[in-house]
């Protein structure tokens, strides 16, 4: 289980993933990737490029048809369903485009969800959740239900939840897809903060401007890695005005790709 600081947090080695949908559909066709601890990587590609499949594999939600996916030192394909659940709950934090909060649980309970499944005591869970919610600026929304929160607030609850078990890896799937541009900028800034604290972040998006927040962009198309580019941050990343300006056109585009 233990990984030394130099070991990659995710290692993808010659991974193929095929689906049987009437015929054989190849979603990933021999992918090799490494994600270092504390790295910030964006995976970019259009619909059907295989980036969602990649996310499912790295998130231990799915297993590859062939090749190895190693997350936090664990070969996902060799884990039982129960072990994969534990891996997801303690080593990986998920952030989704549609927030995916439990509708009948309060903000605190949502944040504490992974801790509940990891059998933390109730008081410790609450303490941890309150700290995280305060960090994301929701110190006055502890006991609100998701429906009582705005879209941006919901996504901030989701970010706090992704951070709750202080995982090695945070997976963010189009995290700004369902919020306005200003809120999108806040969310990208929170992700940057998390990364600065040492959590590796894997951001999946189809938007170049969002992808550019990462330090590295992996372009995926038709199930293969087309190219990897380093992003030079010449100016401070994530000022609100700048993001807002650039994301105007992106809103409509996003609605077409909710999956």
């Amino acid at each position: 289980m233990a990984t030394s600081p130099s070991d990659p947090v995710v290692s993808i080695d010659n991974v193929r993933k095929e689906y049987q949908l009437g015929g054989t559909v190849t979603a990933l066709d021999g992918v090799d990737l490494l994600f270092e601890p504390g790295s910030y990587t964006a995976v970019m590609g259009p619909s059907g490029s295989g980036k969602s499949t990649l996310l499912n594999l790295v998130g231990a939600l799915d297993t590859p048809t062939s090749g190895d996916v190693i997350v936090a030192g664990e070969n996902v394909a060799r884990l039982s369903e129960t072990e994969r659940a534990a891996l997801r709950g303690t080593r990986i934090g998920f952030i989704f485009q549609t927030f995916n909060l439990m509708p009948r649980l309060t903000a605190v309970e949502n944040v504490a969800l992974p801790l509940m499944f990891a059998e933390w005591s109730r008081s410790r869970r609450r303490e941890r959740a309150e700290t995280l919610l305060t960090d994301v600026g929701l110190g006055d929304r502890f006991d609100h239900l998701p429906q009582e929160l705005s879209g941006g607030q919901r996504q901030r609850v989701a970010i706090a939840r992704a951070l709750s078990s202080d995982p090695e890896l945070i997976l963010a799937d189009e995290p700004t897809g369902n919020v306005d541009t200003e809120t999108g900028a806040e969310i990208m800034s929170l992700l940057r903060d998390a990364n600065d604290r040492g959590n590796a972040v894997l951001l999946v998006t189809h938007e170049r401007r969002i992808a550019e927040h990462a330090d590295r962009i992996i372009n995926v198309r038709d199930g293969v890695v087309e190219g990897i580019e380093q992003v030079e941050h010449t100016r401070p990343v994530g000022t609100e005005a700048e993001i807002g300006e650039r994301a105007v056109g992106a809103g409509q585009e996003t609605t077409g790709e909710t999956r």
Partner: protein, 424 residues
Amino acid sequence: MKSRDGVRIALRSLTGHRLRSALTVVGIVIGIGTVIIFASFGTSVQTDVVGEFEDTAASEILVVTGDVGLDPDDGSFGPPPSPGNLDSFALPGVTTHDLEQLRDTDGVNAVIPRAELDAVTALEYDGQRQPQTVIATSPSAFPEDNIVRGQSFEQGESDQMVMTERAAAAFEGNLSVNDTVTIELGEENKTVEVVGIVSQARGGLNLVGGFSTEAYVPTEPYYQEYGETVRSPSQGVDQAAYRQVTLVAEPDRVTDTSSTVETYFEQESDAGQVIDGGVTVQSAAEIVDGIEEVLGDIIRLVSGIGLLALLVGAFGIANIMLVSVTERTKEIGIMKANGARNRAVMGLFLAEAVMLGLAGAVVGIPAGLAVGYGASAYAEVGFTVPYGWILVATLMGIATGVVSGLYPAWRAARVDPIDALRYE
């Protein structure tokens, strides 16, 4: 996941759909309520009947001539499975000598012969003539508690009579103690004085209270003179012979005394020799057991019908849980992405189903008891709380939840998190 957290989350889901949960619980309430209604009413009737019978008759041993097929060993009660020797049933056979022997038997407190005087056709009082059964018996048939007014007759007094309240009420003008009544005894008439009014007499099979319309006279002289006789093998003379005798035993020695009496009838008695097939000795305790058992069977049968209603409720839970699993597919995906094991997901849905079942029991049991109490009050029997059935009903509620929730919970646990997270 800790089970306490599971219960809390499941409860949250149920209260999130109040109306739906309430309607589902109603199905279980009806099922469990029905079981409890029948069980509580049945148990009340059973306790009431048995209690009344035991008060007066727990220490009684009934001796009937002939083999009536009441086998004390098989514990059953009712028509004999294989009829005994019916030819010998209810022939006069227990002689005066037998009665004397029984009186001297250890453990026997009183001997109460009982015989209807066939020669009597009617009673006449103050110009009114009423057809009336007159029974010859002994003063022991009227213990203190049974006497409403006056006193018992005395053995050997031919001008004394006792009658039940109902028999007295049959005559207009409130027939009571000290009134004079004429017995039409075939061709002759006997004039007697009513010395006592009783609620009932010991020695009959007064199963359900004393509602008999009967008049009583002493066996001496009435049965000696007008009753049936047989030749006593032991005495060699004709003696009055009875079909039915009731022995009052020492309360704590009923079973012993019963077997002593049985042995006497088998080995020494006149009746055993006169009657082909001997006599049947049955202690009241055995009869009470028999009644209790029959009533218990009826309660079980009828309460079992309530289980059908519970079955309908179980389908209700299964149905609503399946709907719930489909509806909450996305939540299942969220939980799995956040580290929920399949077992935790299954446990959550199972907990919901069990809580629905348990809620049905918690509401259905008091509701059933309330209706059962009402029915008992209406039927004028004392109410008995059927504790055993309450336990059974609670367990049934839980079991219903488990059984009906198992498949939906299994379906929930098997949901693929990728599909679930995509689900809208």
